[in-house]
Symmetry: C2
Subunit: 208 residues, 2 copies
């Protein structure tokens, strides 16, 4: 696996989203200067990042929004569909299942898991809630690509279970960051409180 | 304002959350090795990061969980309370308001804004939805510290309005990243789809 720096990966995902937004506005082509500005970088950085994807703009014309979007999607594994399970029946997991935003993006929620008896067997938006004990059964029945942790109460329980059952990619939406001992497991820690704390730090130091 | 590298800031927030989790488990003290391991770094990195906060552990005893947590909270502006408004009445903003998780962390949602007539005047969990036109009125009535953008439809409308009304810290939860022209405005882009795309890139390249 060619090593792509994490900051480059983050910027490539930003370019993809900026291009999707341009496409929504029916913009056909974009100069590297405009794409860079909309993405919060300079155009030298943009061109360097896009060299990883092997895409070149046409001089004087810029990039085709559709073509560059497709190349980025392919590079980022987003032309494929991925099967997702969720750990914890919580307001957050209900929101993710009911809102169906992830499905539109190609991430299909196949099942949810909980440990409280009263939650087992509940069906939300077509997604069944299983006992965490049944994880090995579900993992045999379907290919599970990504496990999402959506609880602040027993995030470590779901984390251990996901790792034990060979799930290689975990999105941790709890407030408590988790780090795998096995470096072959990829964990993304993503917390709204983390984002707000970056802002509180900024505000506290404003003007000082 | 002393410049703190963004990666250091991210790690300091991680240490805070790991310590809060230890406190929940009634752990009183922690060695730098254990705290580092739980935070996904080595202990040299941990000690270097904590030097920004001015905290030293006691040799052979390690860190007091309560004391280090407090020092980090203070350093990060989290001993203060912050007033938050939300742009867009969406399933995500309903989740944030109803779940009240942010309030427990000291981020108080004071008002929500929308532009669709049918949403104006709605009250959710004690929070009123105002017309975006009334933002200047609300900004005069209360001190607004942070604006959260919680819609994928007209994220740019809320962004412009927040910036125009002097809001200096913005958490953008839409799928589309936003970058301020004015470098005195701090924007945190935080998207679940972004996190999942980092995982899809990882999975696509697994074994290759």
């Amino acid at each position: 696996m060619k090593e792509l720096p994490e900051n480059t990966l983050n910027r490539l995902i930003i370019y993809l989203k900026v291009l999707e937004n341009l496409e929504k506005k029916r913009v056909d082509s974009v100069s590297s200067e405009d794409l860079a500005r909309l993405s919060g970088v300079n155009s030298a950085q943009l061109r360097k990042d896009l060299s990883f994807v092997g895409t070149l703009g046409t001089k004087g014309v810029g990039y085709s929004v559709k073509a560059l979007k497709y190349n980025l999607k392919k590079f980022l594994g987003r032309t494929e569909e991925w099967n997702v399970i969720i750990g914890g029946l919580t307001p957050l997991s209900r929101y993710l299942i009911e809102h169906a935003q992830l499905q539109k993006e190609g991430f299909f929620i196949m099942a949810a898991f909980d440990t409280k008896p009263e939650n087992i067997g509940v069906v939300i938006g077509g997604v069944s809630v299983y006992n965490l004990d049944q994880l090995s059964y579900v993992c045999k029945a379907i290919k599970v690509d990504i496990g999402i942790i959506a609880t602040d109460e027993d995030q470590e329980t779901y984390f251990s279970a996901f790792v034990q059952h060979g799930i290689k990619a975990i999105l941790n939406l709890s407030n408590y960051p988790l780090f795998p001992e096995d470096e072959k497991i990829k964990v993304e820690n993503l917390s709204i409180v983390h984002g707000l704390t970056k802002l509180s730090y900024y505000l506290k130091n404003l003007g000082s």
